[in-house]
């Protein structure tokens, strides 16, 4: 990143997104990685937060509160669409650690990382995005 100005630089680290079977994906919080994250010249960490596999937000919150967080608030692998209220609750868990202007809302990962192993369909991806946008409106009115 040295000497390159302009774009916001993000780093996305997840625990796997190739299967809808949650039990085969990796599990564990980000604690073993936060020291390495702190040392990186990265503006935003784009991390999972929508499943219990991701661990608690205070672990990344305490270590990385001076950065932006791209908070994973919907599961890209499920057919059930998270409600705006559920998403608002997930985001508000991060508010003790990250100022509102440092929080972005995104899914835990892509909706179809591998062309031949899509983990979702386009209608569900759109519906989950609508839910995130509605949650963002609620959050801006409450915390803006």
């Amino acid at each position: 990143m040295e000497g390159i100005e302009g774009p916001r630089i993000g780093l996305h680290v997840c625990r796997g997104n190739w299967s809808r079977d949650e039990s085969v994906l990796l599990s564990g919080d980000y604690a073993p990685l936060t020291n390495a994250f702190s040392a990186m010249k990265v503006d935003q960490f784009v991390l999972e937060h929508s499943t219990p596999r991701a661990g608690e937000i205070d672990i990344v919150g305490r270590a990385l509160g001076d950065r932006e967080i791209g908070l994973g608030v919907v599961n890209p692998r499920t057919a059930i669409v998270e409600t705006p209220d559920e998403i608002v609750r997930r985001v508000e868990e991060a508010l003790p650690f990250f100022a509102p202007e440092r929080i972005f809302l995104n899914p835990d990962c892509g909706f179809g990382c591998f062309a031949n192993r899509c983990v979702n369909d386009a209608d569900t991806a759109a519906a989950k995005t609508r839910s995130m946008a509605e949650a963002a409106r609620i959050l801006r009115s409450r915390h803006g």
Partner: protein, 215 residues
Amino acid sequence: MFEVTQVGSWPRSRELLAALRRKQSGAIGAVEFDAVAKPEIAACVRSQVDAGADLIVDGEIGRDSFYSFVTEKLDGTKLMSLAEMLDTVEDKASFEEMLATLDVPASAIKNPTCVGRLKRREPLTIGELHHLRTLTDKPVKITLPGPYLLTRSMWVGQFSKAGYESKLEMGEDVVRILREELKELAAAGCEFVQFDEPVLTEIVMSDENDRRTFM
């Protein structure tokens, strides 16, 4: 505040997947593939804008996967299915067992294997950025595979030694290529560049760090 965006990829249609297979087999070229991919990228962008997203992605619709697509842009690479790579693995039984346990289909997931000196034949993502700009006025995010993921997946000793003495030496070229790309994205005014490093969790969360996984 509370900007809504994606991590990168969007589901692809059956037609797109069929076109991708035909492109990979050489039955059609980039022009014919783009004729299928471009309307689908436009639909993906429209979905995000209509849903109220703030930062838009192209959905990686034209990519084989978020990292393997580099074989289309880099000299010294070859797209290999995991089934093809099985021949290179010393302990085939445990590699197959790992794929089965992790629910990874060996034929569907492909690896960008290094088979010679790496050179950027064309930019990795500048084309995606320019196309995205024609579809929306909103700020955009471009995703790039991170240097660790690329170095780890691209190095397959028996092929990669044709270009490099060691994984470390190849990794230096990977970093150089990604820096060139980032500089060009910055010069083109890209608002957000995201590097993907999913395998970092594998290092700290798996007991078998040394094993070759599918990424």
